[in-house]
Symmetry: C2
Subunit: 215 residues, 2 copies
């Protein structure tokens, strides 16, 4: 097992791409795959694929390629996907409720066990089978239910405050949909939809034809 800290972030991002592709191929009956094939499916050079996978040590076989099952295991382990995760959603507005109904989260082992909202009239109701609670109960809930992840779908003005609450409650990481930087001592991944569209506008304006992923 490589020391996670010394794997470059661009590599980690591609690993999750490889993982999905190989899982799909394995489901289709493909038990082995070469760096060339894998790269071709994803628009990545074979050299890059090998460099990335070399972080797992000697796992491929010359003249053959990589064993899908073995590789999937190694990648899931490294990415922290060899377990399930519990998450809470804060903000049961449009984005929040769409996330509750997003089936890929559960498929990938991420379970949203409760939602919280400022609006007291939502408390006691449920959406997509997930109960919605008052924001006041957030702190106790997280501590009681061993929740690792907070998904933040609240307005930008409220985001920092809720983030601090989450951290105080012992959350380990935050997926942030508010267009703000969060000052908190845990890992944060931000999804900024406006900026995604802005980057697209730039690409169009500059005549750039290409694929870009927004983190």
């Amino acid at each position: 097992m490589p020391d996670r800290a010394d794997i470059p972030r661009p590599t980690v991002k591609r690993l999750s791409l490889y993982l999905r592709e190989i899982e799909q191929r394995l489901a289709a009956g493909c038990r082995t795959i070469s760096s060339r094939e894998l790269g071709a499916s994803l628009g990545i050079t074979d050299t890059q694929v090998r460099k990335d996978l070399s972080h797992f040590g000697q796992i491929g076989r010359s003249g053959v390629g990589y064993q899908s099952v073995q590789l999937i295991h190694a990648m899931r382990r490294l990415l922290g996907l060899d377990r399930t995760w519990k998450a809470v959603l804060i903000g049961a507005g449009n984005i929040g409720r769409a996330l509750l109904a997003y089936p890929q989260f559960v498929e990938r082992g991420f379970h949203i066990v409760a939602a919280f909202d400022q609006d007291p009239s939502l408390a006691g109701t449920a959406a997509e089978g997930v109960p919605i609670h008052e924001l006041d109960s957030l702190l106790d809930f997280i501590a009681d239910h061993d929740v690792q992840i907070g998904i933040l779908a609240v307005p930008a003005e409220a985001a920092q405050g809720v983030a601090e609450l989450l951290v105080e409650a012992g959350i380990q990481g935050i997926l942030n949909f508010a267009p703000t930087r969060l000052l908190v001592p845990v890992g944060v991944i931000s999804v900024d939809l406006s900026r995604s569209l802005e980057m697209l506008a730039y690409q169009i304006s500059s005549g750039d034809i290409g694929q870009v992923e927004m983190e």
Copy 2:
């Protein structure tokens, strides 16, 4: 005006961050800003800010900083935000409808003028004031209404097909929420929600405390 093509992508991403911050400060009455202040608000070094802004030529003033208004103009122009954009949404499911209700899009000049869905029972209805049409009418609509952007919120299996349809109709860029690479000759920005959570799981597992943005 710098040649857009030669601005590094990391720089462009930060520019949209600078733009938002400076607009907020200007609204608060702040007519001038230094690279130090701007960087501090965003967790970026002052040197980095100056290097990024140097692509606009000599726009700052020594001992003073940058004029907010002037800088905003330059950045909006470069990013393609000195105009409005017309977009269509394809896929009026949970994610799609949440995007229709996302107010920041209109604020930034992105107007979703119509939605399209496979499900014929949705045709003729509307969501958030945006009419939903049958998928068959997509090609004609785009050609007739001068739409530049397609927002793809359909299942992964359907994404490539719809993307080809969009390109055939003359679309110039695609914001893709399906977890697939699109093989099309236009700019694509992908937002992959599962991968965002996966990256968060990795950060937690590796003990990494930090801010990462998903493109």
